[in-house]
Structures are given as structure tokens and as C-alpha cells.
Assembly symmetry: C2
Homo-oligomer: 116 residues x 2
DNA sequence: CCGGTCGTACGATAACCTTCGTAGTACGTC
DNA sequence: GACGTACTACGAAGGTTATCGTACGACCGG
């Protein structure tokens, strides 16, 4: 018996509700940019715990929520895990080239800072 | 006679000091995104007062400073005016395609929201 | 049913960000 | 030199954000 409300469905913005400013803000945090890079590298959907961040679990939950509510990722429950995937189709349709530009920029900057 | 310190030169980050997160954060504010769009549309350098924002002058100064310190724009004094221009060469070299993707995304979103 | 794992909710805190108003500095013009 | 314009500096209020700790709910395996 659950406590009457068990919201097993997560709220996502529709495609036409996604705002450029919100996406840019979501990606402007180092933690979240790291998450998006790993999700893009993984290609398919991965669990929250798959991505290790140097923060506590509650903070991780917070960042995933910001990414979901800004429309960058889609989250679905699968058993005890929560799977995360980039909304590439929506983002590419709304902002062509933006996600790829950010991802390659992040990669080249990471390489630049590593070998510095 | 100035009061001993007259910083007529403004501090700008060097090209290799520009961080992707900082640029994304600078562009994630509606006011600043508006400024960048107008600067890009103008092409050449324009004065601060050329761009009208629905905020006071001190707030405008603040936003221009954020844009400058993140490396998005370059500011130079010219007499009583301060000229502003996008650092397109630096941004394109560091993050190829990013600025254009953001600008076209902002334009298409503005069109989408206008005709809604 | 019990335990373990995964993730959430809530409260708290400290830092940050946006905005403003006021006062002040630099520059060109008269 | 005096005045007006353009922008800045500083301080403050208000809201938002990032982070944590603790306690809790959902699910799977024995």
C-alpha cells in the first residue's frame, strides 16, 4: 500500500516548451555539463548511479532534475533504477547544431586544460 | 589631474582563459542574450547606450561586465562612450560553431514565440 | 517478509545573481 | 572653467542556486 500518491511518472517539458535560456543555463554548470558529456558518450540510456560525481546523492538528484526540467534529458523509471537519456531529437529540431557545438567545445576545452 | 588611478583600460580574459561554462552562463540570461544578438546584428562596435534594455543603467553596466569578463565581448573606451563588440574570432577559434548555433537558435526561438 | 540498493523529499545554509538607487568620475563642448 | 552626457562604483535588498545531512519510499532478490 502506497501513501495514496505515487508519482511514478516524471514531468518533462514538451518540445515547444523548451527555452534556449534554460538549456544554456543547465549546461553552464560544470557538474551538469559533465553529466551531459557522459550521457552523450554513452549513447544509450544509463542509470543515475552510472555517472560518478564528486558530490552527494541529493546534490546529484538536484542536477538531474535541473537537466530534466530544462528539457535537456529524459528520465524514466526502470525498476529501482532511473534511466537518463539526452533528448537529442528535440534539441536538434529546436536548436540545430547547438548540442554538437557545446559537446565538441567541452571536449576540446577538456583536452586543452588537461595538457596544460 | 586624475585621482592617481584612472583605469582607462578594461580587464579582458585572454583567449585561453575563456571558459565554456562562463560563456554559456553569460548567454543564459535573457538580457545578455538580447545584447549579444543586437551586437551580432550590428556587426561593428556599438556604444552601450545604443542597445536599449528595460532596466536601469547600473544594471546594464552589470550585464556588460559579465559579458566582458566571460570573454564574450570586448569593450574599449572611445571618448565618453564605451564601444562593444563580439569577440567572434576568439570564440570561433575556441568553440567552433557555438556562437552561430546560439544566435540562430535565439532567432528561431524569438520567431517561434512571436507568432505563437 | 527482510534486507539492500537506488533514488527522493525536506530542511538548512551559504554563496551567488539580478536589480536598484545614489553618488561619483571621465570626456567633450561651450 | 562650467555644464551635460556616458558610464562606473558601491552598497543593499530580494530571489535563486548549490550543497549537504537525514529520513523516507520504491523496487528486487533471497
Amino acid at each position: 500500500m502506497t501513501t495514496a500518491t505515487s508519482p511514478r511518472e516524471l514531468a518533462h517539458p514538451a518540445r515547444d516548451e523548451i527555452r534556449l535560456e534554460g538549456v544554456l543555463h543547465a549546461l553552464s554548470d560544470p557538474m551538469r555539463l559533465c553529466v551531459v558529456r557522459e550521457l552523450a558518450a554513452a549513447g544509450s540510456e544509463v542509470a543515475c548511479s552510472y555517472i560518478e560525481l564528486p558530490v552527494t546523492k541529493s546534490t546529484t538528484t538536484h542536477h538531474f532534475r535541473v537537466l530534466r526540467e530544462s528539457g535537456v534529458i529524459r528520465q524514466t523509471y526502470r525498476g529501482t533504477a532511473k534511466m537518463n537519456g539526452i533528448r537529442r531529437a528535440d534539441l536538434d529540431a529546436l536548436f540545430p547544431g547547438l548540442l554538437d557545438a557545446v559537446l565538441s567545445a567541452a571536449e576540446s576545452q577538456a583536452a586543452r586544460l588537461d595538457t596544460a
